[in-house]
Every structure is written in structure tokens, then in C-alpha cells.
């Protein structure tokens, strides 16, 4: 294979993988950082890093987890670099509020806000399980946790959301 066709093949492979998993990358980044603009930056950085290390991905069937792991690292790097404050739910910036865009379903809006307010430790495994479809074992591998710790965090996250939903129903 000559050099230009190898480069074109590499680019084609990258485009295909990113096209399929771009939505997952963005949703994961958005729920990690809770800011639409930062999520877009994180995904751009993650794509750049994925492009540079594409040759380390042996099997395209593992592309989703590989990309999400890169997004996770880029999100951590982003916050290390900027030393950003945590989100204050009562004083959201426009970019943070953009994630909580209000729809016609009030119950869903309240629930989205409750998820937004969850601690990072609880929100992330919930996103990986509910949105990305990973098992508790896989979440443990991605987050560097034992399965028992993942189960506890998921349990607490749901109970907190359940409690908030019940509270909204009462008020």
C-alpha cells in the first residue's frame, strides 16, 4: 500500500468511527461537564487525540468505549487546565443553562435538573449505565472502581432522583 492510500484509509476509518459515535461523545461530555460550550471543546480535543492515537485501536468494535475513555480524560484535563469552579445551579451561565433547555414536559424538565444537580460521582455512572448502556462491570473498568462501589453509587443516584421526583410531586 502506498503512502497516500494508507493516509486516506486512515482518515476514512477515523471519519466512520467518529460519525457513528459523535452523538455519544457529545452527550457523555455534556453530562460530565454540564456545559454545552465546554462539551463541544472537550469533544473537539478528544477527536484530535483520537486521531493521533488511532493506530492504538486494534478493533473498531471497541471504538465506542475507546472514544468515551478519551472524552473522559479530556474532560479531566480541561478542568485541570482551567481550574473551573463547580456548577452553581442557582447561577448558571447561558452555556450551562442551554443543557437544561425547557421542554413542554414539566416532569422531565425537573428530572433533568435533578440529574444536573447530582454529584459527579453519582451522575457519571448513571450516564454510563442509562445513556451509554454499559454494565456495572464495564463502568467499574472505565471509572477505575470495584463493581460494589459502582452499584452503591448507582443505588444512591436513583434514590436521590426518586426522592426529588416525589418532592416535586408534593409541591
Amino acid at each position: 500500500m502506498n503512502k497516500s492510500s494508507a493516509e486516506a484509509g486512515r482518515r476514512r476509518r477515523f471519519d466512520q468511527i467518529v460519525a457513528v459515535f459523535h452523538a455519544d461523545m457529545f452527550r457523555y461530555a455534556a453530562w460530565l461537564c454540564r456545559d454545552k460550550a465546554i462539551a463541544e471543546d472537550v469533544v473537539q480535543e478528544a477527536m484530535l487525540r483520537a486521531w493521533k492515537s488511532l493506530d492504538a485501536l486494534r478493533d473498531d468494535a471497541a471504538a465506542k468505549q475507546w472514544l468515551l475513555t478519551i472524552v473522559r480524560r479530556e474532560n479531566a484535563r480541561y478542568f485541570e487546565r482551567r481550574r473551573l469552579e463547580t456548577v452553581d445551579i442557582d447561577n448558571l451561565t447561558a452555556s450551562q443553562a442551554a443543557l437544561l433547555a425547557v421542554g413542554p414536559d414539566e416532569e422531565l424538565n425537573d428530572l433533568r435538573e435533578s440529574i444536573f444537580e447530582l454529584d459527579d460521582d453519582y451522575r457519571e455512572p448513571l450516564v454510563l449505565q442509562v445513556l451509554m448502556g454499559y454494565s456495572t462491570t464495564e463502568i467499574g473498568e472505565m471509572m477505575g472502581l470495584k463493581q460494589g462501589a459502582v452499584l452503591t453509587r448507582l443505588h444512591r443516584a436513583r434514590l436521590k432522583l426518586k426522592e426529588n421526583v416525589a418532592h416535586e410531586d408534593r409541591s
Binding site: E40, V130, M132, L151, L154, K162
Partner: protein, 236 residues
């Protein structure tokens, strides 16, 4: 398993299907489980957010000459007679599978799932559509008519299911590739769920035949099912 253990587990994993003994005797835990499963559906909907249009960053040139390939997986050296014997055995197995002789599956669902394992190349993520000519070749007019509303078809091949040639198509879903097998001669009396290791799907009765639709475990297939059913019409 007591109530506390069961509730801890179901709140961590609402799809948890263990603890059936306890569940059958405890109405409170049954109600808790239903409530948590309903909440999970709402959480999933609340987490769906608008996705911006995909735009690629400026990608630097990579010198493919200097890319160091990952070390190949370690292989044990085997004698030449082993390779010869393995080749003969493989040829025999492939021959038997291709002819359908001696291979029996307990159900159509088992055969469909086994077929996916035999064609892993079909499940590569892709955005490259197969040509219309290829689709016409795989889905001939005397078998079915296929509208293009089914989705972006990225793989099309004629395959054998239960000894009959069927069109095997793949479209791209939200969670990865979705396999569609058009089986005009495989009648099923009702929709049958498919449950693979990392996949799930359904075989839907359609006229005198059926259509299998299989996606990643977290793929929502309802919309795909509707669109496929609206796009396919048997010719006979």
C-alpha cells in the same frame, strides 16, 4: 435475598432479573421495582439532549511511515502437520455449515444470532452506503421491494438462514450497526425477542415470512422496526 438487599440491587440496576423468589412473595418490592423501572425510562429521556452538528477539528498530518504498529499478539509455533490438520478440519466445518448439513439450531432465533457471529465484518461502524446496484442484487425484485426509508444501508449480502438464501442488510443506528434479515419464507406466529451477548432484537412476523432486526444492547429498536416494516414489501 431480603427486601433491603433486593431494593439496593434493583435501584442500582433496574434491569436486574435475580431475586425472583423474593419478588414473587413481596408485593412491596414488586411495586418498588415497577417504580424504579418507570423512573429509569424517564431518566433516559431526560438525558437526551440536542446534539450539535459534527464538525471535525483541523487534523494534523500523521506520518504513516513512522506509525509503529502494535506488536502482534503472541503466537505459539505449531508444527506443519497441525496447520494442515486444522485447515482440513476448518474446510470440513465450513463446508458442512455452508450446506446446512448436520447443523441444527433449536430455533430460528438461535440461528439468527449465530449467523451474526459468523459475519463480524458486517458490524463495523460505517457511513459508506452500499451501491443501489448491490442492494438490487441482494434484494431482488422477485423477493421484496425495499424503499430507501429504512436507513443508511452500509452492508448488503445474500446469506443462508435455515438453508434458504435471505438478504442480510445492515443500517447504522444510534448505538452502532443494526442487522436486518429479510426472511420471506420463514413464518413466525408472533414477534420473538432475541437476546445475544451484547445484542438484542426481535423477529417480526411479516405476511408469510418474517424480518429479524438486531442492534446493540442499548439500541432503541422500536423506531427502526416501524421504519423497516414501512420500507419492506414481499413480492410474492
Amino acid at each position: 435475598m431480603n427486601c433491603e438487599e433486593y431494593r439496593h440491587r434493583i435501584a442500582a440496576e433496574p434491569s436486574f432479573d435475580g431475586g425472583a423468589g423474593h419478588l414473587s412473595e413481596c408485593l412491596a418490592c414488586q411495586a418498588f421495582r415497577t417504580e424504579l423501572q418507570s423512573l429509569d425510562g424517564k431518566i433516559a429521556r431526560a438525558m437526551q439532549i440536542d446534539i450539535p452538528t459534527l464538525s471535525f477539528p483541523e487534523l494534523p498530518a500523521i506520518d504513516t511511515d513512522n506509525v509503529v504498529p502494535l506488536a502482534p499478539r503472541a503466537q505459539r509455533v505449531r508444527p506443519a502437520w497441525f496447520a494442515l490438520a486444522a485447515t482440513v478440519l476448518l474446510a470440513a466445518v465450513v463446508g458442512i455449515r455452508m450446506s446446512g448439513i448436520g447443523v441444527s439450531y433449536e430455533s430460528l432465533a438461535d440461528e439468527v444470532l449465530a449467523h451474526l457471529d459468523h459475519e463480524p465484518a458486517s458490524l463495523r461502524p460505517s457511513i459508506t452506503p452500499v451501491s443501489d446496484a448491490r442492494i438490487t442484487d441482494v434484494v431482488p425484485a422477485n423477493v421484496a421491494r425495499l424503499d430507501h426509508d429504512a436507513g443508511l444501508i452500509t452492508y448488503a449480502r445474500s446469506c443462508k438462514i435455515n438453508g434458504k438464501t435471505v438478504p442480510h442488510l445492515v443500517i447504522q443506528g444510534e448505538r452502532g450497526p443494526i442487522t436486518i434479515l429479510l426472511m420471506p419464507d420463514e413464518a413466525v406466529s408472533k414477534a420473538t425477542s432475541l437476546d445475544g451477548e451484547n445484542t438484542h432484537g426481535v423477529i417480526l412476523p411479516v405476511g408469510d415470512g418474517s424480518i429479524a432486526i438486531i442492534g446493540a444492547r442499548d439500541e432503541k429498536l422500536e423506531r427502526v422496526e416501524k421504519s423497516v416494516l414501512n420500507s419492506v414489501m414481499w413480492s410474492t
